[in-house]
């Protein structure tokens, strides 16, 4: 994921303004339709501040879309800021031995690794075998955190399995050959090294060559931003009364299952679909015990200075003690464009939760804000 460069040409700005007008037209039309169809709909605007931009972003983030990069961290009260990448499953096992201090579980552990990194085979074997690709790309994550009550300890473990990833550079033999040729071309253009050159001499030359590969990698990621993908994710957590991991004090906490897919519609448009189910152990009546959601989304980046995302999801939540389930529809639409003269992004968001009982945000609203860093990235 990376931000696009911002072209500042007159033609680009003119094209962007036309798109902005179209985008605004869409925004203005949608609320009218919803106002007619849904009596609860209102429109509101707020001041241009960071809080508003955050709320705009939440319109397309409040429903879990796609499989989390590290599913285990979704089940912790706060996502860890730093994750230690472990190279292999063996490293994971070795690291796990340090999680315990006696029988007490250390807090603040956050690691991920590739458990089957040694099952990828050689590059040619990997490129020919879908099974090897899936095994190699599979990520295992684990973490611990203090529960929000300040006493209990939560430990979570999860797995993400990318079943399909057309943006996997390693599996793209044409790109790999191009990358190797690029490195070789740069190295061959340098003077032949002396026979007794040391490793630091070669490392310095490799840094020069790798810079040439940077632009190739960036270009590949830009071209493949909306590549076809299908991922599975699952995670579970346990909660201990204190930091001691004993059978008496430990009980199941939460569990989650995610399924996400994406297909390219055109070079600038992506269609995504997602499903998620989470369960939680509850202590009292009224607490949410499970939630299921499924939805579709569109993300468009027609020009570098304008982007739009539309997401619709159906959500069902069950609460302990309630026979029925709450159902609601989440709608989120965000458009933003880069205003070169102001050096930032002007964004507008429309959406909310429709027919969500007992929730303040059940109404649809329109918000706009000006901010420096874009919300939508490829």
């Amino acid at each position: 994921m990376r931000c696009r460069r911002y072209p500042h040409s007159h033609a680009a700005r003119t094209g962007a303004r036309q798109l902005v007008l179209i985008g605004l037209g869409v925004f203005l039309l949608v609320p009218k339709h919803r106002l007619t169809a849904q009596a609860v709909t209102t429109a509101s605007t707020t001041a241009n501040d960071s809080a508003t931009s955050t709320r705009i972003g939440e319109l397309i983030q409040s429903v879990s879309y796609g499989v989390p990069a590290s599913p285990a961290f979704e089940l912790l009260p706060n996502k860890p800021e730093e994750v230690a990448p472990l190279v292999s499953g063996h490293d994971f096992q070795t690291n796990a031995k340090t999680w315990l201090d006696g029988t007490a579980l250390r807090i603040g552990i956050a690691v991920d690794s590739r458990p089957f990194v040694k099952n990828g085979g050689s590059l040619s074997q990997y490129q020919r075998s879908t099974v090897r690709q899936i095994a190699f790309r599979t990520m295992l994550s684990a973490g611990t955190a203090r529960a929000t009550d300040g006493h209990a300890t939560i430990a979570a473990i999860g797995v993400r399995i990318p079943l399909v990833d057309d943006g996997d550079a390693r599996a793209d033999s044409e790109f790999v050959q191009l990358a190797a040729g690029t490195i070789n071309r740069v190295i061959a253009s340098l003077p032949q090294p002396p026979l007794n050159a040391d490793a630091s001499f070669f490392a310095a030359r490799m840094k020069i060559a790798d810079k040439a590969l940077d632009s190739l990698r960036d270009d590949y990621e830009r071209r493949k931003w909306n590549a076809r993908k299908l991922e599975l994710g699952a995670a579970g957590s346990v909660q201990a009364g204190g930091t001691q991991l004993t059978p008496d004090s430990t009980q199941l906490g939460r569990a989650g299952f995610w399924l996400g897919g994406a297909v390219p519609v055109s070079t600038w448009l992506q269609l995504t679909s997602s499903g998620a189910m989470t369960w939680a152990r509850t202590d009292s009546v009224g607490q949410e015990s499970s939630r299921a959601s499924g939805g579709l989304g569109l993300r468009a980046f027609p020009v570098a200075v304008f982007s739009v995302a539309v997401e619709v999801a159906r959500v069902q939540a069950r609460h302990t003690g309630d026979r029925g389930a709450d159902h609601w529809t989440h709608l989120g639409t965000v458009a933003e464009w880069y205003v070169a003269e102001l050096g930032g992004w002007l964004g507008a968001g429309y959406g909310g939760d429709l027919n969500r009982s007992g929730h303040l945000d059940r109404q649809l609203s329109l918000r706009y804000a000006f901010y420096k860093d874009r919300l939508l990235t490829q």
Binding site: G121, V176, N184, A188, N196
Partner: protein, 127 residues
């Protein structure tokens, strides 16, 4: 200073090829094989290693006798997929395809590719 390995070339090996592989990890390798004279003077590029061409011809045992070769190789960083371990194996083969020398380069032959491509080198003297 890079370690230079003396490798005895069988006189009946036929056309000699020098190859590089990473058999246990899906890593992309690249490299330039440089040639040196018997007096250790630079003598130009001998060939290029890529995933599609993992070996380069060196010549007959007679023509390479006494010469030096250096592989200036790289394990490529291809995407943003975190640290990936590797182990490179270099080999010298005769015309029948049988390897008469295989080795893991001491300089960078084992490691992890993470944020940038990793260099490795292998220098040898054909004796």
């Amino acid at each position: 200073m890079t370690n230079i390995v003396d490798i005895a070339i069988p006189p009946d090996a036929g056309a000699i090829t020098f190859g590089v592989a990473c058999p246990a990890s899906p890593q992309a390798l690249s490299g330039i094989v440089w040639r040196y004279t018997t007096t250790q003077q630079p003598d130009g590029k001998c060939g290029e290693i890529t995933p599609a061409t993992p070996s380069v011809p060196l010549g007959s045992p007679g023509t390479i006798a006494g010469r030096y070769f250096v592989l200036e190789g790289a394990v490529l960083k291809l995407g943003s997929d975190g640290p990936i371990p590797y182990q490179v194996i270099v080999s010298l083969r005769g015309s029948n395809g049988t390897a008469f020398h295989q080795e893991v380069p001491q300089d960078g032959g084992v490691g992890t590719v993470d944020k940038e491509s990793s260099p490795f080198q292998y220098s040898f003297h054909a004796v």
